[in-house]
Structure formats: C-alpha cells, structure tokens
Amino acid sequence: MATTTITDATFDEEIASAQEPVVVDFWAEWCGPCKMIAPILDEIAAEHAGRVRVAKLNVDDNPETARRFEVMSIPTLIVFKDGEPKKRLIGAKGKGQLLEELAEFI
C-alpha cells in the first residue's frame, strides 16, 4: 500500500482502527528535508505493506494534531502501535537508518 493522508479529523479513528503500526509523517510543503524523505517513506510503505502503514500529516493544514503531540521540528515521524505513540524520530534520515529505527515495528 502506498502512503495515505491523515488529518486532524480522521486521526483518532485511523490510529485506533489500524491493525498494524502506523508511522505518522509530520511534514509541510515548505520543508526541504521533508521532501527528501517523502520518496523513501513511499518505498517503505510499498515494500512493507500489511506490516506497517505510513500516514502523512500536513502540519499547516492540521495544527491540532501537531500541537497535541508537541511536534516542534519537521520532519518528525511518530510510530503508533495499539493506538499509542511508541517511538519518535526527529529529522531526515536515509532509508537504511530509517529501516533500522523502525525494525522493531516491521
């Protein structure tokens, strides 16, 4: 599965109903490093479909959720499992390093 989009309105339901861990990518249009990791996240979502889900949350359009999880820097990735935030990754990383950080969830 490709990456999906998540919003303030859909956030709670999507996180609660997900069977697999969800990696939420807090990003924005004006963030260069976010753009650099976007294709990497697409690849990870496609290659690990069924085991992990990647959902993109635009912080410009969805400030509520960003505030709720005290996101102060983007890109930030938060991994949710069983409805709870389990891990937070701040800043851009390469694919190898991302997969390493996410290994416990995949």
Partner: protein, 330 residues
C-alpha cells in the same frame, strides 16, 4: 571489476556538485553523483539551500525562487543529461592510487564500491553547533538549526537566534513571521552580516539584540525553557526566557573524509589551485568545501562548472577519454 571504473565521480549534490554533474554529463563523461543520505546531523542532499526558503540573489529569477525548488531543478537538469545520482553517503575514499576508490556503506570492506579516474569533491559545509550537552539533547525540542523547518512551531513565542552573520540575520528575520519576539545573541557588539541584512534586522520591531553575550546553557528537560547567557567581558550570567533556540554561528567544511589525503587549511577547508585542482592529481574540489570567502549558490555553481572543465581537460590530457571523442564545445 575493470568495467566498473568511471571516468568521473562527484561527491556532493549542492549547487557545486550538480553544476559539475551537468557539465560532465554534457561532455559525455557519464558522471556518478553520490549525493549523500538525508540526515539532520551530517549529509544534506541538495546542500544547504534545502534548508532555506526564498533565494533572492540567484540570477535569472526575477521574483526569487524557493531553495529546495532551485535544487530540485539543478538535480533534474543533471539527470536529464545522463548524470547518475546515487542517494548514499560516502564513508571512505582512497586517493593514494588511480583509479581512485570510493566506498559507500561499510568502510571496512577491502574493495571500494566505486572507482573513477577523476574525482570532484563538492561536499560543502554544514552548520556549526554550540557544542553544549543540552543543545544536543534538545534538538527537535526547541533547539534547531533550520528556521525554515521549525519556525512554524513557535507561533506567538519568544525565541532566540545565536550568531551575527548573514545566516543568523536571515533566520531571525524569517522567524519574525511566527514569533512574537526574536532575540539575537551575539558575542560581539557589531554584526558581521552584510549591510542589507543588518539593516533589515535592525529595522524589524520584533528583533532585539543581546550584544556581547555567549550561550552557556540551554535550560529544560524535555523542551527548551530558557537560555543561559554570559557577558563576554563581565562574566555576568542571566537567563533569557525563550522557548526556542536557533543556532546560526557559522559553518564547518565537510572534509573529515579527506583528512590526511587532501591538503586543507587550519579550518579544514580544502586548498585548491590552480583552478579547482587539489594536491592530488585527478582530484578537483568546488563549492563551499574549498571556499570560506564567498559561500554563495552562484559562486558554488560557478566553481562546479570550473571543476568539470578542469577534470575533463585533465582526463583528456591523460588519454583516459576515448580518442574518438572530440573535445567538448562547452
């Protein structure tokens, strides 16, 4: 693995590296560009412009252009002429014999992953950090080196920028879009920023200056709750009640890879000349990695073009390039 030897490898993908790639690709040298791996602490594919917003001084763009957009265009242009771009970090180089060896991934394996007759080093420079324990701990929790990435999260707050150069002024000005107040902490009593940036910053009502002070600590356990500063003459300490600290105190060239192999000055900048030549024949350097004076996108791009031409002529003089290939009409 003889068939795996390239004419040319370019390390780095900022304006210098990608301009070198455009020129080398157009000269049919089929360059491999190793662009780095996205990371908030070391590599930045696309270079420092990926962390900026509006670039107003790059010629050709009447209304300015966004930094990331400009770099994506450089990249697309290089790819269009056949430059191969590899998203990976170079972990080791061996310049002791030709073809030169370049490693990505595990640096301890004996054989290089890539080899080339000529090498262009365009690894650029990165932001210096203050070097405080608290600074590292609070990165992403109020401490930032990228105002354009993180300024948004400080709406209505009081934040501090440390530094007195152009990038510090740029960050401070950008941050006024969000913050209620921006305090610029500088260790001297005057700025080294350009006139135009100084004027803009000093005219801005939201910016105030904390002269002759250095940051000695960042306060807060899980997020920034203040910054402790010290007067450079009196040693008197005080606390600024800020929720964010943006660090813009200068740059350091990315030359650790080449230590002991390429000549560098006391600050680690590669020494070049004539042209873009380094002390190792066949290795050329361009952009911020060898320039602490100008450090502009346009000068980096210009020197990238020079490096590609220098490298092509050098390859040609050695007969490394296919004899049937006619000299490039640049």
């Amino acid at each position: 693995m003889d068939d795996d030897i390239r004419e040319i490898i370019i390390i780095g993908s900022g304006p210098a590296g990608l301009t070198a790639a455009i020129y080398a690709a157009r000269a049919n040298l089929a360059p491999l560009v190793i662009e780095g791996e996205p990371s908030s602490t070391s590599d930045q594919p696309g270079g420092q412009l990926m962390l900026t917003t509006e670039v107003e001084n790059y010629p050709g763009f009447v209304e300015g252009i966004m930094g990331p957009e400009l770099m994506m265009a450089f990249r697309g242009q290089a790819a269009r002429f056949g430059a191969e771009i590899l998203t990976a970090r170079v972990t080791r180089v061996d310049l002791s014999e030709r073809p030169f060896g370049v490693w990505v991934g595990d640096p301890d394996v004996p054989a290089p992953t890539h080899r080339a007759h000529a090498l262009i080093v365009a690894t650029g420079a990165r932001s210096l950090m203050l070097g405080l324990e608290a600074e590292e701990r609070l990165i992403g929790h109020g401490v930032s080196t990228c105002a354009t990435c993180d300024g948004f999260f400080f709406r209505g707050q009081h934040i501090a920028v440390v530094g007195g150069g152009d990038s510090a002024m740029e960050e401070a000005l950008f941050l006024t879009k969000f913050a209620e107040k921006v305090t610029v902490i500088h260790r001297r009593d005057e700025l080294r920023a350009s006139k135009i940036m100084q004027e803009r910053a000093q005219k801005n009502d939201k910016i105030e200056f904390c002269w002759n002070h250095v940051v000695v600590d960042v306060l807060g356990d899980t997020k920034v709750e203040g910054v402790e500063v010290e007067h450079v003459h009196t040693g008197e300490r005080s606390t600024l009640p800020v929720t964010g600290l943006f660090v813009a105190i200068g740059h350091r060239p990315n030359t650790d890879l080449f230590r002991g192999q390429l000549d560098m000055d006391a600050n680690g900048y590669l020494i070049t000349g004539p042209g873009t030549r380094t002390n190792v024949e066949g290795v050329f350097a361009c952009g911020d990695v060898q320039d602490h004076t100008y450090r502009q996108a346009i000068t980096a791009a210009g020197s990238g073009c020079m490096a590609a031409i220098d490298a092509e002529r050098w390859l040609e003089s050695r007969g490394d390039i296919d004899a049937q290939r006619t000299a490039t009409n640049w």
